[in-house]
Every structure is written in C-alpha cells, then in structure tokens.
C-alpha cells in the first residue's frame, strides 16, 4: 500500500518569509470573508485562501479568477482576530502565480495592470488615455466604456499627450531591478495573459 505524501509546509513557510504573515495563526473564523466586499462574486474567499496556503494545496486558486478580484481594501486585515493580513497573502500569491503561470491570470485584470504599468514605465506617470487605449487593444473590448473618453475630455479631465518626467531613466531602472525581466513586456510585469 502506498503512503499518502507528507506535506512539507513549504508554501506556508515561504509566504511567511515573503509577507511576514503567519497563516498558521488563522483559525478559520471567516470574519475576513464575512466583511469581504467581493465575497458575493468570488468562489474562494479570504479564509479559503488562508486555509489553502496552510495545507499547501493552492491549485484551486490557480484555476479560478477569485484572488484576482481582491480589491486590496484591507477590510479583512483590519478585523482579523489573529493579526493576519489575507490581502497581503493574496498579493504574494498573485505575484507568484503571475510569474509561474501567467496564462492563468484573467485577461481583463492582467490587461489593466499591464496597461497601467506600461504607461508608468514609459512616462514615469500614468497616462490615462494611453492606458485605456492599450487596455482596449489588449482585451479587444473596444466598445466598452473603460473610461468614457468624450465625457472626460469635455470636462478637461483627460490630457491628449503624456507628460514624461525627466527622471524617466531612474524609473525604468527601478522597473528593471524590481521585476527582474525587462524583456517580458514594457511593464516587465509578467502579468500578461496574451495566450488566453
């Protein structure tokens, strides 16, 4: 008879190193999920994420958009009885998943972050019009109201040209140093989802 494998607790340990959050403190009370504004729309809620990290079985999180819908509103962290920060753990998982399996990131989410950071890398600041154009191109949602440009233009809220900062070289160096792989896209974000 073969023996079922013993969990090495490796993921929990790595998350602790990366985030300082000891997920083992979570006793599954669900207070995070009770207050989560996205709980109504997600399959896996903050307490599920904590549980999966503890058991090392995060596979289901990779097959579902749930964690990509986290708003980082920190309601969970501010109420956790055990001082855990599920939002921070979710960030760490997103970083990990985007690196390991970028194809799994939901397309609109990946497209938005990528388009946003692309502008920042290019100009040092976000250029909304450019960002929206890029987002629409990446998602193919050309007619959706990503941000209704005419209304914004009429109110003087959308500039037509980007303003580039003079220290753009410094910003690009930061991007290169922090994302490690400048070649994976303008943002170097790795949060791509082009094959999906």
């Amino acid at each position: 008879m073969s023996r079922s494998p013993v969990s090495d607790g490796g993921l929990r340990e790595r998350i602790l190193q990366e985030t300082g959050v000891n997920t083992a403190r979570c006793y599954q009370c669900g207070k995070c999920s009770a207050g989560c504004p996205m709980a109504a729309e997600t399959r896996w809620r903050p307490h599920d994420v904590m549980r999966m990290v503890n058991t090392g079985a995060v596979g289901p999180l990779q097959d579902d958009p749930s964690i990509w819908l986290c708003l980082a509103c920190e309601t969970c962290a501010s109420r956790c009885p055990n001082g855990c920060d599920p939002a921070r753990v979710i960030d760490a998982l997103r970083e990990r998943f985007a690196r390991e399996a970028p194809g799994g990131v939901p397309r609109p989410v990946a497209a938005f972050h990528r388009a946003f950071l692309d502008q920042v890398r290019r100009h040092g600041r976000s250029f909304e019009l450019g960002m929206v154009m890029e987002y629409k191109l990446r998602t193919g949602a050309l007619t959706e109201d990503a941000l209704s440009a005419p209304g914004l233009l009429a109110r003087g809220k959308l500039s037509l040209t980007p303003s580039r900062i003079s220290g753009i070289g410094e910003v690009r160096r930061i991007f290169d140093a922090c994302t490690g792989s400048a070649g994976t896209g303008a943002g170097g974000t790795g949060a791509g989802g082009d094959d999906r």
Partner: protein, 292 residues
C-alpha cells in the same frame, strides 16, 4: 513646517478638480504647497499585484525627491497615493536590509525621513484657520462622509485614529456648517481597483453606497479619494435605478473651498459628471457655471 505636495497622476488627470480645489484652499488658508519636482507615479493599485519590491520602490523615489527638496512632510491628497507612500515608508522602516538597499535601487540618497500626510490630516490641522475665515457656512447640509479604504486601512499604515469609527471628515464637514449623516457604508470599498477591468462589480458596490447615503437623507457625498470619486461620480448614472435623484459627490477640499467663499469654478466644480449646481443653488451657494 515645510510641506511638500505630491499630487499624483489622478490629480493631473481625472481628478483635476481635487488639485484645483486643494490649491485654492491652501492659498486661502495661507499654507503654501511646494510640489515635489519630477515626481513619478506611486504604482497605485497595480504595482503591488506585480511585486512587493516595485510597490515599495516607486513611492520611495518620491520620498527621496521630497527629502532632497528639504521638506519634512509630504502631502499626498489622493488616498491611493497616500496609502502607497505611507506603506512604503513603513515597510522600509521595518526592513533594515531594504532600507540599506534603497539608495542604490533608486540611484539617490535616501534616509526615509519624510513623513506622509493625507488630506484629512492637512485640513484637520488647518481647522482653526478655516473656521476663522469661514464666509459661507453650509446651513446644516446633510452629507454622507465616505472614507472608503485607503485612508483608514490598514491602521498600521494609515494614521486613522480608529479604523472602524474615524471622525476626521465629519469634523471638517461640521466646521463648514454641514451636518454629517449617520450611515453605514462610509468605510466600505467602492471597488476602485477594478474600475476599468470589472465595471460590473464596481457598479454593484457603488450602488449600495449611494443607496445607503440616500436612505440616510444625505444630499451629497463627501470624498477624499480620486478613485472613489471617479467611481461614484462618473459611474453614478449606471449605479442609479430609474427615477432616483442624482447625488453630487464633492471632494472634501471643494466643500472647504465653498465654505471659504471661493468661486465654484476655481474649485473645479464644473468638472463633475453629477452636477452639484442644483444642490448649491438650493443651499444658497453660487451655482457652478459652464461645461455641463
């Protein structure tokens, strides 16, 4: 104390009226703001999804610039920028190795010495001056003070006195003669970071906020975050069921500016999607002109 000003991308774009009203108010209360030269985007709601280091380094460059400019504190009126700057400052403070690494990463000297202030702290400090120069008090205008997330959470990063019951915005509103209502959605998230990529969620969350404000009898929403504003103002039509009257969404600086008697147009009130003009006319404040 010299205060550096970090407007952030939104205040140069979709939240121009926040920038305009802040500058007008700062001038009126005699608190000059020195904009940080050559500031860059703080990374907002995207950088932290991609990597913690990027989420810290982008704001840190601005803190380094502020330091070089010789200011002791920097005002970040945008709630997202404030949160990112304050968080970076704290993360670096707690991580000795990261702090040592920063100058090389940024290519600049960096001592993590500059304090980060949000708009509520800035206005709270100025309350005595505001009260002294009040020319147009709102006669008990019922307002719903909407904090959202980034000004109050997590408490370890923000300086909110109480993340479940903050009162700073109410105090500012009261000083302007408004009457903050008791409601329940003031700390709920509006869905800001999914504004573009998942509009449906944002509409659901925003609708609940607006409906609770209406139920509590609020005639306007008071905000201090460009993301909240763009969601609740720009997308309000989609959030509002038929026949309900629209609720103007005011930046806290706009409210203070009006109370100080500053002309609405100088405060950017004409840039809103939900026009505050009818409300202001009803309340005896001059209507905003043009552009609607």
């Amino acid at each position: 104390m010299r205060t550096g000003y970090f407007p952030g991308c939104s205040l140069h774009g979709t939240a121009r009226e926040f920038d305009e009203s802040l500058r007008a108010v700062a001038g009126a209360i005699g608190a000059p703001l020195a904009e940080i030269d050559d500031w860059n985007c703080c990374g907002a709601s995207s950088a932290h999804v991609v990597g913690q280091r990027l989420a810290v380094a982008l704001p840190a460059r601005n803190l380094a610039l502020a330091e070089a400019q010789g200011v002791e504190q920097v005002l970040a009126p945008c709630a997202a920028c404030y949160n990112r700057l304050a968080k970076a400052r704290r993360v670096i403070e707690e991580d000795e190795a990261l702090r040592r690494e920063m100058p090389e990463l940024l290519g600049r000297p960096f001592g993590n010495r500059v304090a980060v202030r949000n708009i509520l702290e800035f206005l709270t400090d100025a309350l005595p001056v505001i009260e002294a120069r009040l020319v147009h008090a709102f006669g008990g205008l019922p307002l719903a003070c909407y904090y959202g997330c980034l000004l109050v959470r997590p408490a370890s990063v923000t300086s909110a006195e109480d993340p479940e019951h903050p009162t700073a915005m109410e105090q500012i509103a009261r000083a302007c003669g408004a009457a903050p209502v008791t409601w329940h959605m003031g700390l709920e998230c509006c869905g800001g970071s999914l504004s573009v990529s998942r509009t449906g969620s944002v509409i659901r969350l925003g609708r609940a906020i607006l409906e609770d404000a209406r139920k509590a009898g609020a005639e306007a929403l008071l905000v201090a975050c460009p993301m909240c504003h763009s969601n609740l103002d720009f997308r309000q039509r989609a959030m509002t069921r038929d026949g309900r009257p629209p609720i103007p969404v005011l930046y806290v600086t706009e409210l203070v500016g009006l109370a100080l008697g500053i002309e609405p147009r100088r405060l950017g009130l004409d840039r809103h999607f939900v026009s505050p003009a009818p409300l202001l006319a009803r309340r005896g404040q001059a209507p905003a002109g043009g552009r609607h």
